[in-house]
Every structure is written in C-alpha cells, then in structure tokens.
C-alpha cells in the first residue's frame, strides 16, 4: 500500500546487506533520502556503491534489509516512480537513439512520443536521435542514458556515476541539469560518484560508503564540522622564527608546514583565527595576511574512508 505524505522519505533503505559467500559487498546500509534532496552517494572504487544501487533497484537479490520508495515496499510498484541509470548505460546498438527510448517507454508503461522528444531535448540529442547508437560517442551514450532515465517523469532519479565519459563541459551540463530537475521539477535525485568536486558542487546531502558500510551521512558542512572539528589557517608573517616561538606556546595550534605564497599553514582546534592574530601582534610579529581555509569534502572523505572497517 502506498503512503503519500510529506513525511515519507523518497528513498528509505533499512539494514540492506548483500553477501557474496561470506564477503559482504554491502553491510547493514541505512539511508534516508528526503523528497527534493540531491543526494550524493560517495565512496572509493570498490566501496559497494553500484552493488547497493543494484540491490536498491532489485537487479540483484538483497541478502537482508528492505527498501521503500515513497513508502511503497512492493519491488515492482516502487519502480513506477523511479528512473535509473546504472554504470555505463547499455543500448541496443543496432537501433536508433529514439528506438531505444521507445523500448524504455514501452517497458515503463508511460512516455509518449512527445515525452521522448522532451527527454532528448533536455540532453541535447534530438538532432542525432535517428542515428544508430553504435555511432554515438561515450558522452552521447551517457546523455542518452540520462534521457532514458528521465522518461515517464519519475519522482526519484537514481544515477550511478552519470558523468563518466563526459568532458568538462558535459559534466557541467549534467550537474546543471540535475540541479534544475530538483529545483524546477521537484525531483529527488540520488547520485553516486567518486568525484568529490562534483558532489560538493551540486549535492544537498551526502552519504559516504566505504567497504560496504555507510561511514557518514549529512550535509557537506555538517559532516566537515562533525568529523573534522578543525580549521586550517594560512598566516603571512614578517618574522617566521619569532612566530613559531609564539605559536608553540598556544594550545590548539599545530604548524602543518608551508601554505601558499610563503605563508605558514596552521591547524586550529577549538581556537579562533583572531586569537592567533592577537597573540602574534602582541609578541611584536607583524601579520601580513590571515587566510582561514574551511575543511573540504576531500579531507573528510580521506579521513573517513582510510579508517579500518567498523572504526569510523
């Protein structure tokens, strides 16, 4: 039975596990993707992202756990609301791009010729739609895969590495398209990627998977604050040895090395940059520049995924 309320998550994954023999490719995965989220599913290669997505979509059996999509538990019915692209999209190469979308529309049970045109327009392939797919470049196939996922106006879009094979312009176009789908059309997008900059640029929430387990989940800012707890600071000083003496007496400051343009790179823990500035100035060290650097998703990602299983 379908429950349509605003509190119902677009995607709820509860304790999902998938074992291959004794090896767990995905272990006890819990995810909540709210309607309107652009959720980034991050993880290094081999972390289990694609296995998790395939299990969510029912392409492979789930060893344990349940998946609900907009409150729907039935695997067939829940897919009515989903458009998906898993890994590199595959096509019937001897058919045209349009014929491939016609096949997808037939199986989706919705998607008229006008819908196919609209999907092709969105990815800029309408002019090439009559050509056989075997003549398409990797980027064109990727865009056609996105057009296929958009057919039938799904409420939830599940995309696995959608910018694979795209040039920087194509990657940017996909990012803009996904952002527009969320903002303008109210879609929920669940996108896996190992490209941190891409996820950081577009996602409202992220989950980080490592060795089959979810290590962190939240907004980028939340996660950086929660897991890092430190701020980097670059300081330009007139007298470096004197500055080092001052800083060595301050608690919560670690000198990491050299920053940009000859500045010193400091790591602050529980200390404001203004305190460092005041201490240096009072000790007679001239401060020429003070550049705070927020923690990045990359640092978070590396700190979370480098730890041993079960530690983070």
């Amino acid at each position: 039975m379908r429950l349509v309320t605003s509190d119902v998550p677009a995607l709820a994954v509860n304790g999902l596990s998938r074992f291959y023999g004794k090896r767990a490719a995905v272990r006890k995965l819990d995810l909540r993707v709210q309607p309107g989220d652009l959720y980034g599913f991050l993880g290094p290669n081999g972390a289990g992202k694609t296995t998790a997505i395939r299990a969510i979509l029912g392409l492979i059996a789930r060893s344990k756990g349940t998946v609900e999509i907009f409150g729907e538990r039935d695997m067939v019915r829940q897919r009515a609301e989903v458009g998906a692209m898993v890994e590199t999209p595959a096509f019937n190469d001897w058919l045209s791009g349009r014929a491939n979308l016609t096949i997808a529309a037939a199986y989706a049970g919705r998607g008229s010729a006008a819908d196919i045109d609209e999907a092709l327009d969105r990815v800029g392939l309408r002019d090439r739609a009559k050509e056989k797919v075997r003549g398409y470049s990797l980027g064109m196939r990727q865009r056609l895969g996105i057009a296929r996922a958009l057919l039938g106006r799904p409420k939830l879009l599940v995309l696995d590495e959608p910018t694979n094979g795209l040039d920087p312009r194509g990657m940017r176009e996909v990012r803009e398209l996904l952002t527009e789908l969320v903002r303008r059309d109210g879609l929920t997008v669940f996108v896996s990627s190992h490209l941190l900059s891409e996820v950081e640029a577009m996602c409202t929430r992220v989950g980080i998977l490592d060795r089959g387990e979810l290590r962190a989940e939240g907004t980028v800012q939340e996660l950086v604050q929660r897991l890092g707890g430190s701020t980097d600071l670059e300081v330009g000083v007139s007298d470096r040895p004197a500055a080092l003496t001052v800083l060595s007496k301050l608690e919560g400051v670690t000198v990491e090395g050299d920053g940009e343009a000859g500045r010193m790179l400091l790591k602050l823990k529980g200390l404001e940059p203004a305190v460092v500035n005041r201490a240096l100035v009072l000790a007679g060290v001239e401060v020429s520049s003070l550049v705070p650097r927020a923690g990045t998703l990359e640092e978070l990602f590396l700190s979370v995924t480098s730890s041993e299983p079960g530690v983070a």
Binding site: V76, A90, F91, L95, I103, A104, A108, R148
Partner: protein, 277 residues
C-alpha cells in the same frame, strides 16, 4: 499481467525481427525450401537401387508436391532453422544480459516473468513467420516444379494428403516453441550466447545417444520399458511434426505441451532469481 504488456511485446518484436538472427531466419525460411525443391527436381526420375532381404530391385525417384513438401519440412527442421531460432533466443536472453540491456528493462515497473513472456512471444512470432514463409515458398515453387498432389498410398484423397502435409508444416511451430523454451531455460543458466548454443547442441547430442541406446535396449534386450522411455526423449518430442504426417498421436502432443510447461517453469523460476549485472 502488466498493463503495458502489449507495448513490451511490440518492442520485443522490433528487436527480434531487426537483429541479424531474425532476418537470417526469414531468409533461410525461403532459401532452405528452394534448395531442397531444386535438389528433388534434379534427382526426380533418376534411377534408385534398393536391397531388401538379399533381393536387389531397381526403381525411379518420383516426387510429387506432397512428398516434396515432406522433404522440405524435414530439411527445415533438421539444422539451420533450429540453429537460428536458438541463436535468436540466446541473443534475446543471454545476449541482453551480457550486453547489459536486460538491466535497462528490469529497472522498469514490470515483473520479471512478463519480460521473459514478452521475449518468448516475440520469438514465437519469428518462428510462425518463418514457417508461413517456408510453406508459401514450398507450395508455390513445389506446385510449379511438381504439379498438384498425387494419390497417396495411405490417404485416398489427394486433397486430404495435401491438407495433412500443410498441417504437418504448421505443426513445426509446436516443435519450435519447445525448442525456444528449452533454449530460454538454458539461457537463464548460461550467460553467453555461444554458451547457450553449445549447451543446447550438447543436450541434443546426449539426448540422441540416449534415444539410440533406449531403442537398442528395446530391440536387442527386449526391454519394453526402454521403448516407452524413448518416447520421452527430446528427439522424439521435437519431431512431433513428422509423426503427424503418418497418424495423429494425441499422447505425443500432450508430452510436448508438458515439456513446454516444464521448461517454462524452470526458465521463469531461474530468471526471477537471477542477479542481473
């Protein structure tokens, strides 16, 4: 059944008929009867020698439309068309799985059995079309080369003889459906197209050995059970069209339909649980 089933069937027909295996099947459906009829026409009227109980007798090859049709039917069902239908089936299931296009279908809101059903029906349509094309070619060219049907020894009425031959031709469809079902069941276990074709060939060769062994036991060892068991081999089941020419055997038809139901059940059960890459 999902409400979009007929749309699914329509696109599966598009795929089956547009693949190499599809149009090759239709080309062979014309080519095989043409070659067979040409050969029969060439040897028609030539001398034959046969030895029965030590006595050698001379005769002449003599073909009419009905006997030529029987030969066309046999040549159709012996090698090329079953091979192409097996290939079409393997491409439709194993091929789509290894090419990963099957994944794109299974992320849609349809039960897995309906995907397999749509593919099967499209393959049945390919078989039916090939039979109709072969029959039309055989009738048209056969009539031109051999004239109308002659008097058959077992059937007094030449028209009835022709009707039986036509019916036998159409019943090749039952054998094809059984073959497609078997190939589909194998395709749910074997993930490569070549693997399915080889597996089916091995299955049929083993079955042929079994059939020969059982008949040998029945004849030499006088074991009646072996004779009965030989009726349940694939060779016996898949040649249901041949027996129709001589006499109607409802038991054999029941066995074929039972076999089709069995391979269907195995195929669907396996397909429903298979992980799709």
């Amino acid at each position: 059944m999902p409400r979009q089933f007929f749309a699914m069937l329509r696109v599966e027909l598009l795929k089956v008929f547009s693949r190499f295996s599809g149009w090759a099947t239709l080309l062979m459906a014309i080519f095989v009867p043409l070659v067979t009829l040409g050969f029969l026409h060439l040897i028609n009227g030539s001398a034959t020698t046969s030895t029965v109980q030590g006595h050698t007798s001379m005769g002449l090859n003599s073909f009419d439309l009905v006997s030529a049709m029987k030969w066309c039917m046999r040549s159709r069902n012996v090698l090329l068309l079953p091979l192409l239908l097996t290939l079409a089936t393997a491409l439709s299931v194993s091929g789509e799985r290894s090419e990963r296009t099957l994944r794109e279908l299974l992320v849609r809101p349809v039960p897995r059995w309906s995907v397999l059903a749509a593919k099967q029906l499209a393959l049945w349509a390919l078989s039916a079309t090939s039979i109709v094309v072969s029959l039309a070619t055989t009738l048209a060219v056969g009539y031109w080369l051999f004239g109308g049907p002659a008097m058959d020894q077992s059937v007094a009425d030449p028209d009835e003889s022709l009707n039986r031959a036509i019916l036998g031709f159409l019943l090749c469809f039952v054998s094809d459906v059984a073959l497609i079902g078997l190939a589909t069941a194998l395709a749910t276990f074997v993930s490569s197209v070549g693997g399915v074709v080889i597996a089916l060939a091995f299955t049929l060769i083993l079955d042929l050995f079994g059939y020969a062994l059982l008949n040998l036991l029945a004849m030499v060892g006088n074991m009646s059970w072996a004779g009965t068991a030989s009726h349940y081999t694939l060779v016996s089941l898949l040649t249901v069209w041949d027996h129709w020419m001589d006499e109607f055997n409802p038991v054999q038809f029941a066995e074929v339909f039972g076999f089709i139901a069995l391979v269907w059940a195995i195929g669907i059960a396996r397909f429903s649980r298979t992980d799709v890459p």
